[in-house]
Amino acid sequence: MALKETLRARWFWYSVLCILSWGGWALLSKLGSREIPPETMQFLFTLGAVPVGLAVWAGRSFKLEKSPKGITFAVLNGVLAGIGGLTLFAAYHTNGNTALITSASALYPMVTVILAVLILRERIRPIQMLGLVFAAVAIVIFSF
């Protein structure tokens, strides 16, 4: 019954769309990076992201909240996400193993959890601690 309900839920199918989109993004990033250098990949990637940004903006009738703090954090987010994207394209461009690079780069919640503890003084939960242990094991294996 629970499975039937989940399969009927809107959130479930949007989660599936998210997984497929991000899987496609990583795979196409690799395909393009075989020939195109990281800087140009990031330039083109952004051109691709702009129409979606515009569509989201249009979906909100071109109105956005005017919180200077919120906007500063979000713009800074874009700059940092762009730098992380650039180095991911660089990693793919080295011709390293695609499955390993994609799995390793997906470990970024590890850094978020550590920073949330150090900066936001959030408490680390036992399940997250276990997650950090698995992340550490993965990173050691990938470094060989």
């Binding site: 997984i19 395909l31 393009g32 702009v50 956005l64 909240e65 713009v75 992380g84 997650g131 470094s143």
Partner: protein, 138 residues
């Protein structure tokens, strides 16, 4: 210790996206997830002058140019789908770890598309990484 050449690039990705995860929490304290996505694209655009390729871009194959553009579309589309999933009743503690499994799509398709293979030890690493992202996002 000899590290594969991609390793340090990926470490920079991990650290910058890790900070992004933290800033995302902070920005959505003040503005909606959609506004945050729009301003994030503005942040991407601020970097464009540094990466402008000029006419060199026309030397690359059409297919690879298309993949690069489409990768940007899919990345932003994925973020948008994630927000809608959360807004339409998906619990963050379920949606976040499930969507963090996107590398599975790559791992399944790569042997067919790029004919790459990985060792048994590396498979163990990939499984550890997937367990880690699920536990960290719960």
């Amino acid at each position: 210790m000899h590290m594969p050449p991609w390793f340090w690039y990926t470490v920079i990705t991990l650290v910058s996206w890790g900070v992004v995860g933290l800033l995302q929490k902070l920005s959505t304290n003040y503005i909606s997830a959609e506004s945050s996505l729009v301003w994030l694209v503005v942040g991407f655009l601020l970097l464009q002058p540094f990466f402008y390729p000029g006419a060199a871009v026309f030397h690359y194959s059409r297919w690879n140019l298309a993949w690069a553009l489409l990768s940007g579309v899919l990345n932003a589309l994925g973020a948008w789908a994630l927000f809608i999933a959360m807004k339409s009743g998906g619990k963050a503690s379920i949606v976040a770890p499930v969507t963090a499994l996107y590398p599975l799509v790559v791992i399944v398709l790569v042997p067919f598309i790029l004919h790459e293979s990985i060792t048994r030890l590396q498979i163990a690493g990939v499984i550890s990484a997937l367990i880690a992202v699920v536990l960290l996002s719960v």
